[in-house]
């Protein structure tokens, strides 16, 4: 237990990162630092490497060059801790079409949940999916599925949220719900990295927003 004290501060450092898809280099020498209660908005045209960057940051892809440090250590050296403290919601929802909304959330809580901070009933209510909780996901609309995928954020107590286009297919009311959650997460000292084509609308989010353009 002689680790330096800085190690215990939740901090994401991306250092001189280079990402590529096949042979094509998408971005290089990308560096940023994210501290608690900070919000990183990644913008850029289609094909500029936003998804690739997020997949590198969450640890699915290895970078061509550079490194990502979580609490001062390379994420490849502390994968379990990093996976426990981060949640990734990609552009594919990761839901099983043959399970109901509630069953999907239940499995997410069991497999990814570090500690369940809401009951599943509460989560379903917050997500606005009360009426369709017992419907198969195959019967839900794209927007409802997106909400359910974001429900993973609620059942897992992660500090770092990594979100790829969270607002796709979501209606205005859903967007408000998601933004409210982002704000309360940030107020509790959480961190958010997200990509989105639309600019951030909520003034409270704009205050703590860092924008990176690819």
């Amino acid at each position: 237990m002689t680790q330096p004290k800085e190690d215990n501060v939740a901090e994401l450092v991306v250092h001189n990162l280079q990402g590529a898809r096949g042979d094509r280099v998408l971005f290089s020498d990308l560096s940023f630092r994210l501290r608690p209660a900070e919000f990183l908005h990644i913008t850029g045209p289609n094909g500029s490497g936003k998804t690739t960057l997020l997949r590198i940051v969450c640890g699915l892809l290895s970078p061509e060059r550079g490194e990502i440090r979580w609490r001062g250590r390379d994420i490849r050296k502390v994968p379990t801790q990093y996976r426990m403290e981060s949640t990734y919601v990609g552009h594919r929802d990761g839901l099983k079409a043959e399970l109901t909304a509630l069953e999907n959330l239940d499995i997410a809580a069991r497999l990814y949940g570090g500690g369940i901070n809401h009951s599943l009933d509460d989560c379903i209510r917050v997500l606005g999916l009360r009426q369709c909780q017992d419907l198969m996901v195959a019967q839900l609309s794209a927007g409802q599925r997106r909400r359910l995928a974001l429900g993973r954020l609620l059942v897992k107590n992660a500090i770092l949220w990594i979100l790829d286009e969270p607002f796709t297919a979501i209606d205005d009311q859903g967007r408000d719900v998601v933004e409210a959650h982002l704000i309360s997460h940030l107020e509790q000292g959480g961190m958010v990295v997200l990509t989105s084509h639309q600019p951030v609308s909520h003034p409270r989010l704009r205050e703590c927003c860092i924008t990176v353009s690819l």
Partner: protein, 229 residues
């Protein structure tokens, strides 16, 4: 991080139950390999001869090869849908060890294919003129052999699931690895029919099961991480 052991166990149970539930809701996928097994086995009397001594001579090989092909047919279902809907990347990002999750998935796959094939095999054995008192040996070899088929198969699926047309490649990759299991499985049944001792073959099949049970989940987990890159 307390209770790591129990949380790993509960992750295994959670994924096992999830996959069983999914398999039961996809009836067609559940029944296809079984129907394939029954049909392939019943083609042999039609194509060769319905003469009982001939059938009895080929029965062990036919049953084992058919079980092996039926398993091969069902392998893709271990990871295909999870890969397509993005669940697989979520599982890979879970803080639980990936080999444990793989083991849960393979266990569920075996329960919905290998186990059912084994339960179905006595009826098919009888249709190939096998004597009643030799069916036990058939069931025993299949129950030890089919989990190995699922385990080795999971490595192949993990490597090929990212490819658009991975089916043929999977067969080419996996079938050679199935040869030892086929040899010992079929020869055990053969020897049982000839009233000889089969313990040796069964020990070898069990050894292969233990070996694949300890190594395959790790190999599959590594292959999955490569596939997801």
């Amino acid at each position: 991080m307390e209770n790591t052991e129990s949380s790993v166990y509960s992750a295994f149970i959670a994924i096992f139950r999830r996959d069983l539930k999914l398999a039961l809701r996809r009836r067609a996928e559940l029944i296809n390999p079984l129907a394939f097994f029954v049909i392939v086995v019943s083609l042999f009397p039609l194509g060769l001869s319905a003469d009982p001594p001939t059938l009895l001579r080929i029965a062990p090989g036919v049953l084992w090869i058919s079980a092996l092909l039926a398993t091969l047919l069902s392998l893709e279902s271990i990871f295909r849908s999870d890969y397509e809907d993005g669940s697989l990347e979520q599982l890979a990002l879970s803080h639980h060890p990936l080999p444990v999750i793989v083991m849960g998935k393979v266990a569920a796959h075996w329960c919905t294919t290998g186990l059912l094939l084994t339960l179905l095999s006595p009826a098919l054995g009888v249709s190939l003129a096998m004597p009643m008192d030799k069916l036990g040996a058939l069931v025993l070899t299949l129950i030890v052999g089919t989990p190995t088929l699922s385990l080795i198969g999971s490595i192949g699926v993990a490597l090929t699931v990212g490819l658009r047309r991975g089916g043929i490649l999977l067969a080419l990759l996996i079938l050679p690895l199935y040869i030892p299991i086929l040899i010992f499985g079929a020869s055990a049944v053969d020897m049982a029919i000839a009233d000889l001792e089969v313990a040796g073959q069964l020990y070898l099949l069990t050894a292969m099961l233990v070996l694949s049970l300890t190594l395959a989940p790790f190999a599959t987990a590594i292959a999955l991480r490569v596939t997801l890159e």
